[in-house]
């Protein structure tokens, strides 16, 4: 029962993104570090419907954890519990413990947690009424904070996402004047400008073309050494390309998690294997 489709088992480049597959700049076999965040029997509801049925998962520090699974499996909900965005939806609630370092984030003001745990969404969401520069600074200035070295913050954040050279001559243009992929990198820069420790990404490439997607994936590689990252994706190849650790969710439960290579080539649970081989989902 262990046969796997070779196309899914290994890291696969998106068709058309590169003529020759570049070597991964990214060693998957790094030493496992300690957990930056962890959840303990995390449950979540929309109204009376339980969409997360007790998930216990540790997220390794300065590593990329990918969460995969079919639609409706609770992977986005799980991600949105990690910075308490889940509860902003009317009727939604969560229960259980989510540790960020030594702190249970459900015992502190969500605003504090969201500054430490940034988030990037499926659709690029630059603020349409702000320039590129002001979008980067939005997390600070909209909160009436006056950063001392605003220009340095902008440059550093845009450098980090590789957008600086593309936009440095038009920082005063609206953030929405950029292309979709640039907008998404702008949103990542905006999230980084408030100096978070963890970065959550909810299908950050699903609205982008393959080239922009490849650019974001490179960026995830580059940021991995500095931030603890969690990425939800529908795209198994993407998980295989970017993540150190992959977790498979099914019907509100964590089925299994482990080193990406191991999970894709040698899944322990038959449901994981069925999903990876395309038998459902």
């Amino acid at each position: 029962m262990m046969e796997l489709e070779p196309a899914i088992a290994g890291p696969v480049r998106p068709i058309g993104s590169r003529s020759t597959p570049a070597p991964l700049p990214f060693p998957p076999e790094r030493p496992r570090s300690s957990a930056k965040m962890s959840t303990d029997d995390l449950r979540a509801w929309f109204g009376t419907q339980e969409v997360l049925k007790g998930v216990t998962l540790a997220l390794a520090e300065r590593q990329v954890t990918a969460i995969i699974g079919p639609s409706g499996c609770g992977k986005s909900t799980f991600l949105r519990c990690l910075n308490r965005m889940h509860e902003t939806v009317p009727g939604a609630r969560a229960q259980g413990r989510v540790w960020l370092g030594e702190q249970d984030i459900y015992t502190v003001d969500p605003v504090v947690t969201r500054r430490r745990v940034g988030m990037v969404f499926q659709k690029p969401t630059p603020f349409p009424f702000l320039s590129i520069r002001d979008n980067v600074l939005a997390g600070l200035t909209l909160n009436r904070e006056r950063p001392k070295h605003a220009h340095a913050v902008v440059e550093q954040a845009l450098q980090q996402v590789g957008l600086w050279d593309e936009v440095k001559d038009r920082l005063d243009r609206p953030g929405t004047s950029l292309s979709g992929g640039q907008q998404q990198r702008l949103c990542i820069a905006r999230a980084l400008a408030v100096a978070p420790e963890v970065l959550l990404m909810d299908e950050p490439c699903s609205a982008l073309d393959p080239i922009a997607t490849a650019r974001i994936e490179e960026l995830i590689h580059e940021l991995a050494g500095r931030y603890t990252m969690v990425i939800v994706t529908h795209n198994m190849q993407q998980a295989a390309r970017v993540a150190h650790v992959t977790a498979f969710f099914y019907m509100g439960q964590l089925v299994e998690s482990g080193a990406t290579e191991q999970l894709f080539t040698n899944p322990k649970d038959p449901r994981t294997e069925d999903y990876l081989t395309g038998r459902f989902g």
């Binding site: 910075n83 965005m85 902003t88 009317p90 605003v111 504090v112 947690t113 969201r114 500054r115 940034g118 988030m119 969404f121 659709k123 969401t125 603020f127 349409p128 009424f129 939005a138 997390g139 909209l142 909160n143 243009r173 609206p174 929405t176 004047s177 949103c187 905006r190 999230a191 408030v194």
Partner: protein, 282 residues
């Protein structure tokens, strides 16, 4: 007859009826405008804007005090209704499905549909009678009551149009919810909110009924809010219902001025909206 031909026929019939209905709807609108311009343009003069009405028998005069009165009363009404309306609109948009919100929304809708004369009677009983006299303040208050539901509901609708993902982006940056409402949601909706306010102003500027027994009207320059004050629609009413040809002429001219002002307010709102959206791909 083939199915395709049948569909094409229905399509053409539908389009034709729509076009016809549009034309019919435009007939009264265009004829009012043409009528106004053809009758009112002759009466336009500099004095119309700057002078007081002259007693019957004397030539000339204008409706300057009415223009001023409309400006003052609409301005005061705006100061009263704008903050309240915007805040109420935010409460409705962000208040979820609570019973309180539903009741407020229902009341706002009823108020928006209330005949303006009823608002006038209300202000007469609530303000004019206790104060023993007509006043510009009472007039402004009546206009404010009329503008309030328009501003409230348009603000609510426009806040609802702001995409939820912008709100979420603000929250995810660690902004408190109230800050997101002000700095993200309201800011995104601002051009539309401004349009709603301009439409409310345009409507209030043309109201006659609620001013009849609140501001009452005046033939003199008035600056004091506690005194009766003239307004353009009231002045038009007085002039038009007089038996004198010269006054009728002035009524036409004043009506043209009023319609032009309302038109300018609407154009201004559109201009503000378009300029604010110029750079963004909304």
């Amino acid at each position: 007859m083939s199915l395709f031909r049948h569909r094409r026929l229905v399509d053409r019939l539908g389009r034709g009826l729509c076009g016809l209905a549009t034309l019919l709807a435009l007939v009264p609108l265009v004829s009012v405008l043409v009528w106004l311009v053809s009758h009112g343009a002759r009466g336009l003069s500099f004095a119309l804007f700057t002078e007081l009405p002259k007693p019957f028998g004397e030539v000339g005069g204008g409706v300057g005090q009415a223009l001023l009165g409309t400006g003052i009363m609409v301005g005061v009404a705006l100061l009263l209704s704008m903050p309240l309306g915007i805040l109420a609109g935010i409460a409705l948009a962000e208040g979820g499905k609570s019973r309180f919100v539903q009741i407020v929304r229902f009341v706002a809708d009823v108020l928006a549909g209330a005949p303006s004369i009823a608002v006038g009677v209300f202000v007469y009983t609530a303000v004019v009678m206790p104060m023993h006299g007509f006043s510009a303040f009472a007039g402004a208050l009546a206009l404010a009551v009329l503008m309030l539901p328009t501003i409230t509901r348009s603000t609510e609708e426009l806040l609802r149009l702001v995409p939820i993902h912008l709100r979420e982006a603000g929250l995810a940056l660690g902004l408190p919810a109230w800050r997101v409402t002000l700095s993200v949601t309201l800011k995104s909706a601002l051009p539309g909110v401004a349009t709603g306010i301009m439409l409310a102003v345009a409507r209030a500027a043309g109201e006659t009924a609620p001013l009849l027994f609140t501001a009452f009207g005046s033939q003199y320059w008035a600056w004091n809010l506690s005194e009766p004050m003239a307004a353009l629609p009231l002045q038009i009413f007085t002039l038009a219902s007089s038996p004198f040809e010269a006054w009728h002429q002035q009524a036409w001219a004043a009506a043209l001025v009023l319609v032009t002002l309302v038109l300018l307010a609407n154009l201004g709102a559109r201009f503000v909206t378009r300029r604010a959206r110029g750079g963004m791909a909304l």
